[in-house]
Symmetry: C2
Amino acid sequence: MQIRSVSEPFFTKLQHGASLTLNDKQILADLCKHVRDVKSQRDIASQDRACRYLPIILEGWACRYRLLENGKRQITGLFIPGDLCEPFGILPRFPDSTFAALTPTKIALASLDAVAAAARSSPSLREAFWWDLLMASSIDQERLVSLGRRSAAERVAHLFCELHVRLMIIGQADNEGYELLITQTDMSDMLGLTSVHVNRSLKILRETGLISLKGRRLMIHDLVGLRDLALFDPTYLHLDRSTSRSPATVEAEGAQGYEVGT
Amino acid sequence: MQIRSVSEPFFTKLQHGASLTLNDKQILADLCKHVRDVKSQRDIASQDRACRYLPIILEGWACRYRLLENGKRQITGLFIPGDLCEPFGILPRFPDSTFAALTPTKIALASLDAVAAAARSSPSLREAFWWDLLMASSIDQERLVSLGRRSAAERVAHLFCELHVRLMIIGQADNEGYELLITQTDMSDMLGLTSVHVNRSLKILRETGLISLKGRRLMIHDLVGLRDLALFDPTYLHLDRSTSRSPATVEAEGAQGYEVGT
DNA sequence: CGGTTGCTTGAGATCCATCAATAGGAGTGG
DNA sequence: CCACTCCTATTGATGGATCTCAAGCAACCG
């Protein structure tokens, strides 16, 4: 009962990648048996590299980052509830990067064998896992585009748009906005900027009337305008199931709540 | 005979990921049966998205790029001979990005079924494919670090170091340097800079005595100095096989990966 | 409370982009 | 073989975007 509730965002997210059954839901809940709390700013399993567990975020936000010799930090991935902590759970960890909690975080450690068994036993779960991998890779790639070819304000706006969609998927955002759980310094390390400049970019977005911030609550007043500014095209997130997979795997089922491109 | 020769860089590269047998070599050669020539600047199979072929570069250099609505281009991946044209050949193509040849290019179109069959039939090939996927992902991730936290000259230097290692692997570079087949404009779209600034960064590297350029030939005069400047740490390329992955894990998980999603 | 962390703003310096012009090389057609 | 064009490389001048350094303020927390 309690277990099933913590695995809820995981299931909710994967539902967007394939039509999952109640049995699938139970399997996912079973994968989340081993739950661990991680304090904010603490590394997650960076030394557990050899162990055969795939971290799944259940609560809180986390990231993968890399430190350079000159002391600079680049966050190479952001993880929110429901996320498999890396696109390659079935591969060895990136040896040169570290996972860390950005907020107090609850993670499940799923045995890789159990994940593999789950994928083998259920075609729909298999499809959902591949969808998740594709989505994670697309997010990484789009971040590359941001860092290479978007201005500071555009990057911030794009991040907000991306998070809006990702949080909608797991029911942690609505049309008004969402809770933004990371600091401006974290955002700067994610977007290749300084925290000072992230702050100035936020000011621009605020003054343009696109968003506003009250504490940790990000309010989006003009989603279209924000996406316009960010050059945000939600198709890269592969939420339109009918176009994302090979025709054979496409089934007609009602769109679960969220529609792409609204 | 001829076929085997064009697949040579493919085999040479994968050899670094696992100990391959003569039989493996033959299998790889068979995967490269369907060869196609692509002219410089032409898109590769961008409309072939539905078709179940994995492009493999045999000669020349190619890239994956994305165009933004404001006309800017970001190259999100660079491919050289021996490269599988995307890390996720087994997944649907990234719908929003395009593959293009940067030079006259010879590519093989390997049937996905044949690739899957090859991975199933040979544990060593399976290990090599996973190694390739891991390496490709690490390269992408390191580019993210470059775009976020390295200066222009550092980015250029880092690209040169990365290409040096990648070309060494396939025998197309030596300690002196290698043929740099892309233009400064291509480099700028890869590194998030303008071509003018790439040119100025090159000038710095030349004046520092680290490199020199004669036509398309890049000569590296001080590899240590270049790597130092670039904050280049070759471990991310996973060339030390002994630390990269235990055979047992490949056995257990490899089968799952390549069978899923078919 | 005092200390810490995160947010905000200012002023000046640096990095990089933009615009512009020149030159060389490769290919092409006359 | 030459004239022409296109593409790439190169360099200068200038402006803009972002960084750095610095200070003040608010919120939180032991």
